[in-house]
Symmetry: C2
Subunit: 465 residues, 2 copies
């Protein structure tokens, strides 16, 4: 519980109607996509940078933890108020300030919804590639804080690659500008890229300068069915080795296909043990040839079916297969742990075999799909938390999945971040000296440990309420 004087000060900063301590209201800001829930002591909705700065200064004065939050669509608990305190919601800062068509640069506030921004720039023939699955409601500020990815990152890179500059409120309440609107800039340390992916622990993003690309002229989508997981995985390597980097190279294993088949009317033949969805984009004149080259490359690898989309509507139809995955998994088991490990792409077959061994060992269904083109596989460990011992088994399986990814030269998170869920596993991936180096940065910049404490690697994990 916050002292009434703190609530009063919050109300003075943002106005009475932009602070709530009502448990029912606050519940909406207690959870994210991880299905954990932590009730804060207050939720505040600032309107601008000055108010955010004032709130941060207040939190420092009063030694209250502060948890910045966008849309709360994160998959690692990065925005959760794991130790009460104040949740600071940035969704009122939702203006696209400028789309500069001459310089292919936009200036936006952190609360702008990803898809709305994409639509706005596409309207003028421009392109913002990062496309996390949550793009219909995730915010650009949250995308930057977590360094969001998505299917198109194979070709176009992740959120970080599109953030040129930021306005940031530091952990002590100063307002700083990092980077700028130019394509190049090397003056001082690169605080922009340090901030992106730091999950709100080193500052609160209050404005973003975003790099745009010309919108590709056209795209072409292929759905390719394989008779084995190995064939599909080898196809990924073969396509890249063939010097083609598709826009997306999505993968679904047999368990995923079974879920989709069960939950939808989509026609997926029984002999299909793995699916790749390959999309190429660019100059319309080239796409036909590129698509054919992909088909030629994969042909010897056990292809049992191919569908080619030539229009946006047909492409949409193929993507339905991929989009129906998340919902269809609910039929397997009610509780899903979606771990987004990433390995060098040639190691994907080995990784899938490792996961298979782990699933058998613990007798838990594990469903794999995701961004095979960059080795970023979503490993979904499906359990029923109501059954005794299942959550413990899931935990052990997760740890083995992480260990497997690390053995193959990979990482435990390609795009979801660490948040509070992966924090306990950090010592598996980062050596102690590297953690110490990071902790030194955090402690120096946030000496009172106000901003999103207990996240990433900094302290012992906390228990969900």
């Amino acid at each position: 519980m916050l002292a009434p004087r703190i609530i009063r000060q919050l109300e003075e900063i943002v106005g009475k109607e932009q602070v709530t301590c009502d448990p029912t209201d606050m519940l909406c800001y207690s959870y994210d996509a991880t299905q954990q829930s932590f009730l804060p002591d207050a939720v505040v909705f600032p309107a601008d940078t000055a108010q955010i700065s004032a709130i941060v200064r207040l939190a420092n004065r009063e030694q209250v933890p502060l948890f910045p939050r966008g849309a709360g669509s994160g998959f690692s608990g990065g925005a959760l108020p794991t130790r009460g305190g104040i949740v600071l919601v940035t969704t009122r800062l939702d203006r696209i300030v400028e789309i500069d068509q001459d310089n292919l640069v936009a200036r936006v506030q952190p609360g702008v919804v990803t898809e709305q921004f994409q639509q706005a720039v596409e309207k003028v023939g421009l392109f913002y590639p990062p496309d996390p699955a949550s793009l219909k409601f995730s915010t650009l500020g949250g995308n930057a804080a977590e360094c969001a990815g998505g299917p198109r990152c194979v070709k176009y890179g992740v959120t970080k690659d599109y953030i040129l500059g930021l306005e940031v409120v530091t952990p002590q309440g100063d307002i700083i500008r990092t980077g700028g609107a130019t394509m190049k800039g090397v003056v001082g340390y690169d605080l922009t890229k340090l901030m992106v992916g730091s999950e709100g622990t080193l500052g609160i993003i209050t404005e973003l300068i975003i790099k745009l690309l010309p919108l590709p002229e056209a795209k072409k989508t292929l759905l390719i069915l394989f008779d084995s997981i190995d064939g599909a995985a080898q196809a990924v390597s073969a396509i890249i080795r063939g010097k083609i980097i598709p826009t997306t190279l999505e993968f679904m294993d047999a368990a995923t296909i079974a879920c989709v088949r069960q939950a939808t009317q989509l026609d997926l033949p029984e002999e299909a043990q793995a699916v790749l969805i390959v999309e190429v984009d660019g100059d319309a004149a080239l796409l036909e040839r590129q698509a054919q080259r992909v088909l030629d490359i994969v042909a010897p690898l056990g292809v049992v079916g191919t569908r080619v989309a030539n229009t946006p509507a047909e492409s949409e139809e193929l993507w339905k297969v991929r989009r129906s995955v998340s919902a269809s998994l609910r039929n397997v088991n009610p509780d899903k742990f979606n771990e987004d490990i990433c390995v060098p792409r040639s190691r994907v077959p080995e990784m899938i075999r490792k996961v298979d061994v782990i699933a058998r060992k613990y007798g838990i269904p594990i469903v794999n799909f995701g961004h095979a083109g960059d080795g970023n596989i979503h490993v979904n460990i499906m359990v029923d938390g109501r059954q005794e011992g299942q959550l413990d088994l899931a935990k052990q399986a997760i740890e083995e999945v992480f260990a497997g990814a690390l053995e193959l030269g990979g990482t435990m998170s390609g795009e979801h971040g660490v948040g509070n869920t992966k924090a306990p596993y950090i010592p598996m991936e980062l050596d102690p000296a590297a953690v110490a180096y990071m902790q030194t940065i955090k402690r120096a910049l946030d000496p009172n440990n106000i901003l999103n404490p207990g996240k990433i690697f900094l302290e012992a994990p906390v228990q969900a309420s």
Copy 2:
């Protein structure tokens, strides 16, 4: 002068023959492309990471400043031993450890020469785009420390965009690994991108994991002559607005053309007041059409001549014009201050006009050329330092050039870095809170201020010897 016990310890670490205190030997490690010279107290040539770590620990114990150095090709003084101490040369760590063709990733030591690395990956059909002018002798470690650019960055991005991970010796001598060999990874703070461009002040890079691309199938080069600077500058914006992002979009002003004309046999007609060199690359089938579109776009903007290269040899001939610039400038005046300001590309015409006003005001020739495609113009202030007052005039002109770039939303350095030369001007670009944030990071990580002290923004500028 270093105490003999320090020299002895250095010799114990690297071997007697890998340490020198001979002034004649040391002279070679006292300067860089800025033409400043600072004599160190010792130069040491470690063979591996363990030796580098031991040297850093020694420097901390003995409180001796340590200056990491690659090939010394920097343009801002980043590698200069501005306060004596030890120069640590990384050129013996010169191995290409691995080129992984399946995953388009290479692992290299910091002393590998940029061009040698490019040739090695091109031999297997791969591509490392960053191409600083010094690539024939610059090292990849130095490129990363300064975040080097080059003409191809318009389309392909800068060094930072290709560094996936690092091994680093921290300012206190720990060995850490940052990032990794995967295309995505969001575990912990992004120390990789923090390190790249930090000019050896936050750690010494001892290994690099580098992202590669498939080598483009073909390229086509156009040299376009304009009757005015404005026409050429407008052409840059028009090409980008036309949704073409060429591989390179290089620019030369009238003064540059005059230098080239005087110093070489190259045929450049008198009416040419500006030159653009435009290169497009990619699928051979597309290039003809892309080149034609570029020519169509620029046609109304005062084109007085066009040359198109269809073969690598013809392309090489066109690039000779650009390559002869640096040498030909010596005819204007003996001393050159090459400032690599960067502005949003649509502001290039205004920037050139500002520079023209400054040149007239101070009566100093200023020659502009560079990477117009990303707004990164090399403003060369040409003086004769032997004449009284000329260096002072140059300093004033430089400050006004920086102010002009900042007024247009630009930066004082697109790719050369800050080093010791731009450090005095930092308060013009970065607000005090941002500088304080950076200084907090440096002080926390390098409490003894051992690693490359006096660089970037940290302390008052020092005088060249």
